[in-house]
């Protein structure tokens, strides 16, 4: 019986996957991009989840817990490990809603603002530097591309 367990020795190519190169580039670009923040987060004993929460609270101060969950697409239980830590470390403050007192509005403190700026700085720099090497109006085009990348998968 021919049970030679078929090896494949040829690599996948653009023939197989048209956007092969870009898939790979996106993978490495994102890895190095988040790596910038990871190094700083580690000093605080925080992880990426902390970063994301801190980021969106700074982006939209006063947002509610439900809104945050919606943006991050995580569950309440996941947030429950991370948010209390950010509150206890005085990076985020919770305020009871005035209209609806069930709601918890999330605000950054000065400390929280400072940290998010420190985390974003190297990422912003990396993008800035990348644009410098791509020449004029790359900015507009890349943004257009990125926007088009966002959303549910298409069937075709």
């Amino acid at each position: 019986m021919n049970k030679e367990t078929e090896f494949i020795t040829t690599p996948i190519t653009r023939e197989d996957i048209p956007q092969l190169d870009n898939i790979e580039l996106l993978f490495f670009a994102y890895r190095d991009f988040v790596g910038d923040a990871d190094r700083i987060l580690a000093e605080y004993g925080f992880g990426r989840a902390h970063h994301r929460v801190l980021y969106f609270v700074n982006r939209k101060p006063g947002l509610t817990v439900a809104e945050l969950l919606e943006i991050l697409q995580i569950t309440k239980q996941s947030l429950a490990r991370v948010l209390p830590q950010l509150i206890q470390s005085d990076h985020i403050i919770q305020a009871t809603g005035t209209n609806d007192r069930r709601k918890r509005l999330l605000y950054p403190t000065r400390k929280g603002r400072d940290l998010v700026l420190a985390l974003s700085a190297p990422q912003s720099r990396r993008i800035d530097n990348a644009f410098k090497s791509t020449g004029r109006n790359a900015d507009t085009l890349v943004m257009k591309f990125m926007k088009a990348m966002i959303g549910k998968a298409t069937g075709n």
Copy 2:
């Protein structure tokens, strides 16, 4: 004592972080991009780690364990959970090196090749569609940008 615990109510802006919009776009773009594969992986009981291993073994059939660890930037112990599963499920085969018999050369099977193609297809489609909406020569420019995004962080 004025311990009003200073709130910050203003959002961060492009003033604070020049590439704010692109940071966000990259975050959402990547999330949806990997989401394409996540749905398929879940059917096989695999995670992203399996995907990455399978991808690079298909990209460079015959690569060694050490090379794979180098590319993925993970430790041997992390791979030790994932690789045996892919071997047992007949997606990857290990062959002893001929020159150096300490080495384990990793090859995809037919099944492994088929799976990596199935995983990459929706990702490739997403990128393709994104380019359709950005017009001509976006491809070259975006690739140039992505390449420039890769590497160690810069000090400036």
